[in-house]
């Protein structure tokens, strides 16, 4: 066998993608009286599953706890068949677990949303650092440049659109209290890091719309437009934008008067 063929054979067996070919494995792998060839391969297969289950569990500890050891392991085994690790960083293997769980049944209906929230919190905890712009960054801008002003957001900000409000469940699990019943209602959560601490909060419809517009590179004028449905649109937009600064979500303010179009695009792309 060539190096490539040997690696295909072993990799297939260890990851569970190709379960058979036992005769070829016996031919390639040296046996000893105490440890037959297939058992030697099996050591790696067991470690593969346990290592990746641990990696996913590290992202979603409450979800894993609710599913129980065996239930969680069975689900991760199934998940890995559809989402094998493509990243050199093992911490990325659970990236799609919550969304994948959404297509499964046999557990609490809000568990997939809990997993999505937990994964987001995990990502945010170690997301790349970025400068934090204070509200003072707006004060220095000429009034007539306000409508065209755009925002660059911190890479540690995540926005989640969930089918359930899982905040109370997350709190109960985190504080080891009795779990509340599922709360099925569309919920948008923002997840972010301030210094080393991770937070999440729910956004109202207009807050979520305004943030989406701004994160996609929309101008302050367009952000205000997203609040048009509020009783006092201008004040609602003002409060929303100020809250972004207060929570440290904004990394930079890009005024048409302060930077060229190129640097603006670059900054938005990086952000």
């Amino acid at each position: 066998m060539t190096l490539s063929e040997v690696q295909a054979l072993l990799h297939g067996r260890i990851t569970g993608i190709v379960p058979d070919r036992e005769d070829e494995l016996r031919e390639q792998v040296m046996a000893s009286p105490s440890l037959p060839a297939l058992e030697r391969v099996e050591i790696y297969a067991r470690m593969y599953l346990h290592r990746l289950v641990d990696a996913v569990a590290e992202d979603v500890p409450h979800t894993a706890g609710m599913l129980g050891h065996d239930g969680f392991m069975d689900l991760v085994r199934e998940y890995l068949r559809e989402h094998p690790s493509r990243s050199p960083d093992i911490g990325q293997v659970g990236r799609e677990f919550g969304a994948w769980l959404g297509g499964r049944e046999g557990f609490r209906e809000d568990l997939p949303d809990l997993a999505i929230l937990e994964r987001a919190r995990s990502e945010v905890r170690t997301a790349p650092d970025a400068p934090v712009a204070g509200p003072g960054s707006l004060q220095g801008l000429p009034l007539d440049s306000f409508p065209g002003t755009r925002f660059v957001f911190s890479p540690s900000l995540r926005v989640l659109h969930l089918h359930h409000d899982v905040r109370a469940l997350w709190d109960a699990l985190d504080e080891e209290r009795e779990r509340p019943a599922p709360a099925p209602r569309p919920t948008t959560l923002a997840v972010w890091r301030h210094e080393f601490k991770v937070f999440h909060t729910a956004l109202s419809g207009s807050e979520a719309d305004a943030l989406e517009v701004a994160r996609e590179g929309g101008t302050l004028e367009e952000v205000c437009g997203a609040c048009a449905g509020e009783p006092e649109p201008a004040q609602a937009a003002f409060r929303t934008v100020l809250s972004w600064f207060a929570d440290g979500w904004v990394s930079a303010v890009m005024s048409p008067d302060l930077g060229g179009a190129h640097s603006l695009r670059e900054a938005i792309r990086v952000g």
């Binding site: 440890l35 058992e39 690790s85 050199p88």
Partner: protein
């Protein structure tokens, strides 16, 4: 040759608070490269604080140098960027493979010690060293299987890779011991087969005896037989930067530091007995 850094420990999340509060008491620290790629927040802050007053080395687990997959260019760029930022004393990874068809098994799978594999690894090490702009250290792994097609011993394979690719060796003494028991070879023969001038770092760790084989678990103190082999290694390779790994069931920082201190004492005893 690389500098002698003394006796260090791995930088692990569990010790972050103690390291920040009590200062960086080890001679040097080894960080798992992949844990710090595109990473900010507390881990990055701790890394920078540690790096400010102690040498740091980057130790990767996902280079997959022996894989038949093409080299992961994005990963190499990320490692180079991190190395540029951290300025480690050196960068290391393992002599193994871990991916196939870009599917990562996240394990350190042993190479078949054949001429084909040797030539494959040598060319890739040369390429990686060019990409990273530095010589790398390759570590021998613990293994639980060998291949019937092998024509070289593990130590001859490692020695040849280091000579032909002009890279350095991270000699994991615990891995030598674990593999020696698992495959029935003489650990001292392994040490004798490794060129003295290539060994730039030594690893020490604990393992578990599962009856049919030893498992490299990094979850226990260094066993006496590994300490003895470490002294044999110091006798052969002289004063080499040594690092204690402890990755699972991690004890308080003081306990890991005590292991590094023990390495210092045992190495000194050997070096003092030299004529």
């Amino acid at each position: 040759m690389v500098p002698f850094l003394g006796h260090g420990i791995g930088l692990r999340t569990k010790h972050f608070p103690e390291l920040l509060e009590q200062g960086r008491r080890a001679d040097w620290f080894e960080v798992i490269t992949e844990n710090f790629l595109h990473v900010g927040g507390r881990p990055r802050a701790v890394l920078e604080a540690v790096r400010a007053d102690r040498p740091v080395v980057l130790h990767g687990v996902s280079l997959s140098i022996g894989s038949v997959d093409s080299l992961n260019e994005e990963y190499l760029r990320d490692v180079r960027d991190l190395a540029d930022a951290v300025e480690p004393a050196w960068v290391s990874d393992h002599l193994c493979w871990g991916s196939f068809g870009r599917h990562n098994a996240h394990d350190l799978l042993p190479m078949p010690f054949t001429e084909e594999a040797l030539s494959h690894v040598v060319s890739r090490v040369v390429e990686v060293q060019e990409r990273l702009g530095r010589r790398i250290l390759l570590e021998n792994v613990s293994s639980y299987l060998t291949y019937s097609t092998a024509t070289l011993s593990e130590w001859d394979f490692l020695a040849e890779v280091s000579r032909q690719a002009d890279c350095l060796i991270l000699l994991d003494v615990n891995n030598v011991y674990v593999s020696a028991i698992n495959h029935g070879f003489d650990a001292l023969e392994f040490l004798r087969g490794i060129p003295v001038d290539r060994v730039a770092q030594i690893h020490l760790a604990g393992h578990q005896n599962l009856g049919t084989h030893l498992l490299d678990t990094h979850d226990a103190p260094v066993p006496d037989r590994v300490w003895a082999l470490y002294q044999d290694a110091v006798r052969r390779f002289g004063r080499v930067s040594t690092l204690v790994e402890w990755d699972d069931r991690i004890p308080p920082l003081d306990e890991v530091l005590a292991e590094a201190e023990k390495a210092r004492i045992l190495a000194s005893a050997v070096l003092e007995e030299a004529p």
